[in-house]
């Protein structure tokens, strides 16, 4: 949840954080969606009384971030983080009323280059990516 420009941060390998809302004074993202996805076990279904029953494996937070059109330097900074096996994302959790860290994996992302024909410029388009917690919310 957005509360300030540092609401979403990603831990770099050196242990420092990159704030997606304040990278060298620029905000790298244009939109962030906070999802709380419930994962149900395979035993879910209706019981003999017709009542739904099932085991909730857990609530797995998911943040979908829409990056703006990034420059070459910005992409070179961000992509290694996104392509890593896991990321540690620090965000403000309104349920916990505090900043929390979660280890995530990322979904597929696509960086689109527009203006490949002509001379008006060759800029990377913005793209979106999902950060999904590997553990359920405690």
């Amino acid at each position: 949840m957005y509360i300030d420009i540092n609401s979403i941060q990603i831990k770099k390998p050196n242990g420092t954080y990159v704030s997606l809302g304040n990278y060298n004074g620029k905000c790298l993202i244009v939109e962030a969606k906070y999802g709380y996805n419930k994962l149900w076990a395979s035993d879910s279904g209706r019981n003999l009384a017709g009542v739904m029953t099932g085991t909730l494996i857990g609530v797995f937070p998911k943040i979908i971030v829409q990056f703006k059109k990034l420059s070459k330097a910005e992409l070179e900074k961000i992509v290694p983080i996104l392509d890593a096996q896991n990321q540690v994302v620090r965000y403000y959790d309104p349920y916990k009323k505090d900043y929390v860290e979660m280890t995530t994996y990322t979904g597929d992302y696509e960086v689109t280059n527009k203006g490949m024909v002509g001379t008006r410029g060759r800029k990377n388009d913005g793209f979106s990516i999902s950060f999904i917690s590997i553990r359920k919310r405690s």
Binding site: D43, S44, G45, N47, L48, A49, V51, G54, T55, I57
Partner: protein, 945 residues
């Protein structure tokens, strides 16, 4: 049922329940806890039933390996998100506490809101996220790594696993109670016995000896688990490891009074079948289920039909006291019933093995027992429950019995411990005990048939009368009589100082009446009394009709017509029998076996007619009486004494009527081992061995030997094969002799006859090299098959002391019948006989049979001239018979001038060959004289010319 809260029961069925698992164990002194992060799946499961031991299993799919043998504890957690009030307690630092403010729980923080150890007076709450159920401890049995998932498949069992080892000596002293035996097993296995001080079915029955080891203490391939299975049957329980305290438990079905409804059932695979039970019959079976004893709830069977539990071949309940176990087992199982089921559940989790619970579906409620359970705990939860119909058995109760100790026993005992199978058929009647028994071991097969007949029948009464049926013609075997109180002394009534006979006071007697109530005798025109039963005889229907005193006649009446009474024999006890108190009374005693007739007196009359005890008892002996009883049914009565003890033992009709004995024992036995067969037949009359025969056929390792021991052996067969192995009876092999009055063969084979008669023909190709000696051989024929008989004496002799007499069929002739003998050569040194007639008499004269050969220089004429020739008759002849001419020998007086040159060696006979030769020489001498005379005559005649 596992301890849980009502919240738990509600939460477990909810949509969105959250679960977790926790495994805890010690490793190298450190407590290790594995949680949902490390555990991929957990599957606790078991398959149980009544009357067996149950071992619970835990399958773990873990990212962490756990060493084999590790004892771990498994707990299943359900997220309950609950605050519980915990006021007025001393708090610990590791617990989070909350206070309720504005309907919201606010966390108290250690160091800020309280210090560890503080007592907080406010209402504070303990937050509980997960509620855990304890599934108990398990032992890691195996671990296998799955390379594809990089995880471990770990199989664990509860501590029942300790019992999966070979049974061995547990160092106990027998007999031992069932409870102490289980306790000893637990001690041996390192388990704690939960019921060590409690009572359960058959807990105090005793095991008499070791059952699961052989006599040498060696294993019989039982495992302790097998023994626990049998103990579960004995205790009518399920033996398992308790989940809470890890102790071995004798568990019975426990009613939880808990009900689950459709919300606890999945909407697939929900089956509730027929109701099993109620159990109302317990059968103990052995010997291939052919030998059964049972105990039943008859009312339940009537109400519900038969439902039996059959326990088969239980070693503890294998003996003839096994029926003693049945009441406790039936008490535990009688009425047990439950629904057969098979269903899947999204999770109940809190029922334990043997918990009874209800399942409510619609308007139906099913009472179920948890016997089989599998809980699949992965990301989700699924519980598989089923209770099957026990294997149905149907015992043929007509061939089963309620106890082995009843009169007719037929059973087969399989003693697996000692490897003995015993089958017994026992028929016991009042008089006979017939037993057919076969005992089989690895080494021996013994069979025995025994018939013990107590051929007496007894009766006793404290009312002075009873009946005995089917009595054999005999005398009483035993009689005992004694008074039972002082008012009924068995005595004549004698006038005393205070007692006088009157019209109402008469003299009774002391008679024992034996009334044969199956035989009647005519008793017309007599005065009858009340002690006799009378009958009138209907000759048309050939039957007797009882006359009743008071109805058909009055006691004392004379009755005319053909009236019959029982055939009666009265015996009068020879003296009074008095009673003083319970230890001082007289007793009459008659015993046929010892021919004893006694009265043991312990009381006496005082002078005033009262009775006092004797200081020392006195035994008076009387002449043994004869009480001849005939066949039939008897009514035995102590006349006039309806309050007296009477005991009588009589001979009963039996199959041994040819023997007068009270007990006959017949038995035959066959004992067979690998190298021996022993056959034995015995008959024992009373205590005396009447006869017995014992045949032992024994084959030793290196020789063959058969022995027959018997008073008498009768081989009655038309043919006997191979009785003479090699056609030889070797008398010298084992000092065997044939002995009889007329004919004996010694162990050396010498034959001796004493006036023996040999009839028939003796046929042989050759009889030689032997001596036949005897005074007379008569009455038969010695002949050869080819009508040519040779008695070859080349190597034998007919000695000088023997005489061979040849008799004709009239027995008087001394002739050798010439026509039947073409050639009869006698080559003998000396033959003495009366007359020999033959065509040739040849004197053997070969040089080869002679020695010391010299020319005879004796003067034959002198010998002849110096002898006298006489005429005579033999003394056996009459004087008129033709006279014989010859020499007379009288060696003593030499008066008959018989020359010694022609005598035989013994001087008793004439050597005819020598006599002829002397005559021959005399002729030569005479011829020489004649020749000389002729020569002189010729010379004289020539001179005359």
């Amino acid at each position: 049922m596992k301890a849980h809260t009502s919240d738990y029961k509600d939460k477990i069925k909810e949509f969105g329940k959250q679960i977790t698992s926790k495994i805890t164990y010690e490793l190298e002194g450190e407590t290790i806890e594995l949680g949902a992060e490390e555990l991929n799946s957990i599957t606790p499961h078991y398959e149980g039933s009544i009357l067996k031991s149950v071992m619970k299993q835990l399958d773990i799919d873990s990212n962490v390996d756990i060493p084999l043998g590790t004892i771990l504890n498994y707990q299943f957690g359900l997220f309950v998100d609950r605050y519980t009030e915990t006021t007025d307690e001393t708090y610990q630092a590791d617990i989070e506490y909350y206070v309720l403010e504005d309907d919201e729980f606010v966390l108290l923080v250690v160091g800020t809101d309280y210090e560890v150890g503080d007592e907080i007076e406010d209402t504070v709450y303990n937050y509980q996220d997960y509620e855990y159920l304890n599934f108990g401890n398990y032992v890691v049995y195996s671990s296998e790594k799955k390379e594809d998932t990089n995880s471990y498949n770990i199989i664990c069992y509860d501590k029942m696993l300790y019992s999966m080892v070979d049974y061995e000596d547990i160092q106990i002293t027998y007999p031992i109670t069932i409870r102490n035996y289980i306790s000893a097993i637990c001690n041996h296995l390192g388990l704690t016995f939960k019921n060590e001080n409690s009572e359960f079915a058959n807990w105090n029955r005793q095991i008499q000896s070791e059952l699961y080891l052989d006599n040498g203490g060696n294993s019989l391939n039982y495992k302790f688990r097998d023994v626990l299975d049998e103990l579960a049957q004995v205790t009518a329980s399920t033996i398992c490891i308790n989940e809470e305290d890890d102790e071995l438990e004798i568990r019975y079905i426990t009613d939880t009074y808990d009900t689950i409804d459709e919300e606890y059932l999945k909407n697939i695979n929900v089956k509730f079948g027929e109701q099993y039970g109620p159990i109302n019959s317990i059968v103990l079976s052995r010997s291939g289920e052919s030998d059964n004893v049972y105990l039943q709830d008859a009312q339940s069977i009537t109400d519900n039909g038969l439902c039996e539990i059959k326990i088969i071949d239980n070693q503890i309940m294998n003996w003839n006291d096994r029926s003693d176990y049945l009441p406790d087992i039936l008490a535990k199982l009688d009425g047990l019933q439950y629904y057969i089921n098979d269903y899947n559940s999204p999770g109940i989790t809190y029922y334990n093995l043997c918990d009874r619970y209800n399942v409510s579906i619609g308007e139906n409620t099913y009472s179920c027992v948890m016997f089989n359970n599998e809980l699949d705990i992965t990301q989700g939860l699924e519980e598989l429950v089923h209770t099957d119909l026990p294997e149905e058995t149907e015992t043929d109760y007509s061939k089963a019995d309620k106890t082995d100790r009843k009169i007719n026993q037929t059973y087969l005992v399989v003693d697996k411990q000692n490897q003995v199978i015993s089958s017994v058929i026992n028929n016991v009647s009042e008089q006979n005990n017939k037993i057919s028994q076969i005992t089989q071991t690895v080494d021996e097969l013994n069979s025995k048939i025994q018939d013990i007949a107590d051929i007496t029948i007894s009766g006793e009464s404290e009312y002075g009368t009873f009946e005995l049926d089917n009595i054999n013609e005999s005398e009483p075997i035993m009689i005992k009589v004694r008074p039972l109180n002082g008012l009924n002394n068995i005595s004549y009534l004698y006038p005393r100082s205070n007692l006088y006979p009157s019209s109402s006071l008469y003299m009774p007697n002391r008679k024992i009446r034996f009334a044969n109530i199956t035989k009647y005798e005519l008793t017309t025109d007599k005065t009858y009394n009340s002690f006799n039963k009378y009958y009138s005889y209907d000759s048309v229907n050939d039957e007797y009709t009882l006359l009743i005193a008071g109805t058909d006649y009055i006691i004392g009446n004379k009755i005319t017509g053909s009236i019959y009474q029982n055939q009666i024999i009265d015996y009068e006890i020879p003296d009074d029998l008095l009673y003083y108190d319970g230890t001082h009374y007289d007793e009459f005693y008659l015993d046929y076996d010892s021919q004893t007739c006694q009265i043991i007196k312990k009381c006496e009359y005082n002078s005033d007619g009262t009775i006092s005890p004797l200081a020392n008892e006195i035994t008076n002996t009387y002449t043994y009486p004869t009480i001849p009883l005939s066949d039939g049914d008897y009514e035995i009565t102590l006349l006039g004494y309806s309050n007296a003890y009477l005991f009588v033992r009589l001979m009963a009709s039996n199959i041994y009527t040819s023997q007068f004995a009270t007990r006959v024992e017949m038995s035959s036995a066959i004992q067979q081992s690998a190298n021996e067969i022993n056959l034995r037949v015995d008959e024992k009359v009373d205590e005396e061995d009447f006869t017995h025969a014992n045949i032992v056929l024994k084959i030793n390792d290196d020789t063959s030997q058969a022995q027959i021991h018997a008073d008498k052996v009768d081989i009655d067969a038309t043919d006997v094969f191979n009785i003479l192995a090699g056609n030889t009876i070797n008398l010298t092999s084992n000092n065997i002799a044939i002995d009889s009055t007329h004919f004996k063969v010694t162990k050396q084979g010498n034959l001796t006859c004493s006036n023996a008669n040999v009839s028939g023909s003796i046929t042989a190709s050759s009889i030689s090299g032997s001596t036949i000696s005897g005074s007379t051989i008569s009455g038969g024929t010695i002949k050869s098959n080819n009508n040519y008989l040779t008695i070859n004496l080349a190597n034998g002799e007919i000695d000088s002391y023997s005489t061979i007499n040849f008799y004709n069929q009239l027995g008087s002739s001394t002739e050798i019948n010439g026509p039947t003998i073409d050639t009869f050569n006698v080559n003998a040194h000396n033959i003495t006989t009366t007359s020999i007639t033959a065509q040739h008499y040849n004197q053997g004269s070969l040089e080869s049979i002679k020695k010391n050969i010299n020319l005879c220089n004796k003067n034959g004429l002198n010998i002849i001239n110096n002898s006298d020739i006489y005429e005579f008759n033999y003394k056996t002849e009459s004087n008129n018979e033709k006279k014989h001419i010859g020499l007379i020998i009288n060696d003593a007086e030499k008066k008959y001038n018989t020359p010694k040159e022609i005598l035989t060696e013994t001087g008793t006979g004439i050597d005819l060959y020598s006599m002829i030769s002397i005559s021959w020489k005399a002729i030569q001498e005479q011829q020489k004289t004649i020749d000389n005379l002729l020569e002189r005559i010729e010379k004289l005649e020539r001179n005359d010319k």
